[in-house]
Symmetry: D2
């Protein structure tokens, strides 16, 4: 019989926080034992999240590291990066595992961390102890890990899209240009005029046309496996009218010749046994895929790689639900690996299509 | 140990058909053993439904009653009403249970059936054998039933909204005016210009301003429990920009005085033990509810009843996901009752909010 | 040659304010000479409104009654009702015409005004001097008027929908139940979580299920023409996913018999010569109408009246663009009447369909 | 006094056709005298286009070149490319001007035309006689032109975005990667399942991940002004949830150093006097621009050019309303140039924001 792991969520009122509560609640081996927050102290989950019925007998509590250490085996930090940095320092070695969903520990190298997260003070020693990455690539390191940092939603799709090219096909990549398109839930809940429905509903908006830190995060990670990647990655990010879901387009410039069939085989082989990554061909279903709408509510990341016959480039597409595979679902996937549960435990929900 | 029930789905390519495949696939005691269709013969589920990964080893087959009888314990008919009428006749007593999601057997009385479904020829004797209704109200009759007819998506929300007033509070209802607002998936997949994205995306459109057969269906059902209801129900239905979800507003005219507290208590008592009906107060969460977005992907129907201090009326609101509680989820709920499984088996997924 | 009227807009940063700037800017006989505001002082129109190019050489100024009186012939108040009440008192008789778009002077009778606008202190004497109403009905009173109060967006559609029944057909109306469906721009710009895109994008939400002051406003107006209307009107209002546009459904209960043909003729006759009201039949075009998407960006209000063969009711539908015919467009229509310009001057833009 | 030009529209039932009827109807010097079509023969404009009121006394007629030649000075072809090719051949020199909105004559060079439009047979001699291009760049050639071919909606935004780099700054461009994001009206009206609202409403879909003929069209045009451009342009195109509007992102790879200030100045200088091109900075207004929602319903194309400090690239953004500046509005702009009317005649409508 599998033991039950006691789980706490800090940042219970946010979008990812709500999704963590939802998914922990339907996981057979996890039990929600603590909710932490700041502005929402005293509220039950159902008061914060309109669809939620179950409250797990909990209300949001002001964050207290001692209480968390006593009540939780695992704590999920769905908090702003500066808060995560502080909480992780306080909770390391006091719970079995800290899983951080913020950017505080994503970039391991000190200098780029300071450049991209100038307001996030952290100990580089602590950062070195974190296992960072998508479970498909670094899952082995997650077994029994005490500190786990999860990639951003964009970084997850980008990494899963690039990994077979970099690690399996070993292409000479001159440059990667990333175009990211995301729904509004990717930006979290902030009371800004531009995020009000009348303005965001019709948007195709260049909110980050140059310089997105998820590109730096991916570069920092890939550089360790294949030196030379940092600096060759540029990213531009756009907001579109959806609420959930993101699509990344990776325009990979290479002089190497490789055809669609080779690409497809390499991707299928690379992700064999990793059921949450679906290798797709754009025309295989009734709508062109990868399209995040075909992943909604699921932990799938859909990827496809195509050779452009007109140019020296490969187009890689990656789609996922930013709140599931891009956040809460991936967090549970990491916990599954941490505790040697089957990877898909509690994550078998199929996409809600159409929605 | 619970035996596995073999389930067939006819109408596998439609929206409700896809949802049935999805939900049967995640039910612990059901096994998908047959898929029937017409235009999609030879296709695998993943070719028809963009989000679907699992194919259950099946392809869609041309409908053959003998094959169905051999391979299925339960057959779910997600077919146009005339097809359902014919298939139900052929399958009755040859499988353990036929569950029809069409309108073929919803109106039991012969005359109104012919008025509202003039093209659906059926045997009235066969119609009499069907158990019709929402599982919350007629679940006892569903135990061991061999023929089950499920209400339309609108009719489900209307019936659940009216039942406590009619059956518990026993109000003298002069008249019920229904205003229904529905997303585009409620209309199914039809290649019509008005259903193309450019025209449907911005619509608040009176597609059925007078005369909707779901009103007749509800009237026919309630009449049996409380004579006098037929004829007092009028309905107007509108299409809005959502894909999933519907909201019904029931404007119940009555001279009887009843306050919000009495209403709330009566609804809570009536639905005690029925976990899929959530009795709501509009201000209880961050967005006003009932709102179908708070039920998306779940089998919940949210209801609220409010007294209007300005007029002699009660406003009842009902919201649900038309493809789940309004179709496929409710079908599995009925099967759970048919086989004495716990009502919520395979249906515990929580709403996807926001989406 | 027509003289140019100097126009000021107070409330320049709001949605209706932006629309006023846009429409005044394309009117041949109006010249924008003043912009007033509070939070946006010092900003140019193009900084406040993302689509705007023309700044008319103006920046928003802190409101100063003397400055307005000096620089404007007409002042448009697109301000909260308490602000409008105060400004109207200060500006009456100091400019040629004050046009108020708020609720401050809509309900003429003192008692209902205080009930529905408890925070809006106004002089009842001043209120009596205002011409209130839709230009189609009270346009004659607007000629040379010095104080004009314009109906709310819902009230405009409701009044135009009911007027032919009340004033022309003279039906005995037992009761009117109104169901209003509106896009998010109807609520203005407020930094509330429920108005953020992730939550509002999927909403079909009962934000005002009982008690809407636009019903009281319409009742107060109609009562003067046909006593007995107050109290017979109930309203429930819902928010849907659109940004612009509203549809009102008026369920008019009557024992009088009247067929569709009679209704249609009466409406056509009543609105003959009023080109902004289009009498429609639901099936006359490719999408069912009235649908606000067919009025987007125009000053049209589409209406249709249908007899329900199943019940003793008439269904009246009214659709418009809440920011044009429901606000800024109607304001210019009123100014046209005030100055005896042809009613359609500057308002001939056709609907943007599809959008 | 300006003479009135008699205008015919062939392809009256399509989206661009409807927009042409709308805009010709509000142009002071144009008069609609002919409507041609195939499936919609006998219908009035208001039956085909739900928002339209004015019918101009016309019904759609089966296409007859002799009738067109008799009744029209200018004929606008909003027809599929093969139909345009045939009609242009028949109408050349029989009317004062043929304006083609299809792809039939966009690519002047014979070989690439055959590659990208294999089904469009045309005379290369006739093609040579066409003036092709955006009016801002080739307007002088349009004066008194008898044959005008207008760029595709994407090609318009791309060309306007690239022109200052290519023709004014004279940068050494190694490569241009284009990412296009478009609403559903860009694809026209086709009865395909993937275009039905339930599937298109949630899409972020790679409908043309490699090989888009608008890239070839732009390359063919720029090559004439700056040899070497063909082959360096790659394009990927995506469908998003909007109905109207498109955004192109041009990732321009160059070793040349150029800063934002230089870029901005060059663009402002290049488009000085061209009022329909607005040079933007992303943070200049409340939402990041260029965003097509800030151009909706107008003839504006918003452009911005940014240097990426992290990489050797310039990011150019271009946004427009595909049915106005990308089709019908640009057609009227061309006619204005053809007849020496002021460029903005009949096109002064400001964007509808928010919508």
């Amino acid at each position: 019989m599998t033991a039950t792991v006691r789980v706490g969520v800090v940042g219970a009122s946010g979008l990812a926080g709500g999704e963590l509560i939802r998914l922990v609640g339907q996981h057979p081996h996890l039990k929600l034992t603590y909710l932490g927050g700041s502005s929402s102290v005293g509220k039950r989950p159902s008061e914060l999240h309109p669809g939620m019925r179950q409250n797990h007998g909990l209300v949001v509590e002001a964050v207290d590291v001692d209480v968390i250490a006593e009540r939780c085996d695992v704590v999920l930090l769905s908090t702003p990066a500066p808060v995560s940095a502080e909480l992780a320092a306080g909770l390391a070695d006091r719970v079995q595992c800290v899983v951080d969903l913020s950017g505080a520990f994503r970039i391991r190298s000190s200098e780029p961390h300071r450049r991209w997260y100038p307001k996030v003070e952290r100990s580089d020693e602590l950062a070195d102890r974190f296992v960072y990455g998508v479970p498909e690539l670094v899952g082995d390191e997650m077994v029994d890990a005490s500190l786990i940092s999860l990639p951003g939603c964009y970084a997850t799709a980008i990494t899963l899209g690039l990994a077979p090219l970099v690690f399996s096909l070993g292409l000479n990549i001159d440059r990667v240009l990333i175009d990211g398109k995301s729904g509004s839930s990717g930006g979290g809940v902030h009371l800004r005029t531009a995020d009000l429905h009348p303005f965001r509903a019709g948007a195709i908006t260049p909110y980050s046309p140059v310089g997105h830190r998820h590109a730096a995060e991916v570069g920092d990670f890939l550089e360790r496996g294949k030196p030379g990647m940092v600096g060759s990655i540029s990213m531009s990010a756009y907001g579109v009218s959806n609420v959930r879901g993101l699509l990344v387009s990776l325009y990979v410039l290479t002089e190497d010749e490789v055809d669609d069939r080779t690409l497809s085989r390499a991707y299928l082989r690379f992700y064999k046994g990793h059921q949450f990554v679906r290798v797709r061909r754009p025309g295989e279903t009734m709508i062109p895929v990868p399209d995040p709408q075909a992943t909604l509510g699921s932990n799938y990341c859909d990827v496809a790689a195509l050779h452009d016959p007109d140019g020296k480039r490969i187009v890689v597409l990656g789609a996922l639900d930013n709140l599931v595979k891009g956040a809460a679902g991936q967090a549970l996937q990491a916990i599954n690996m941490r505790y040697r549960f089957p990877e898909e435990t509690g994550l078998t929900m199929q996409p809600l299509v159409p929605a």
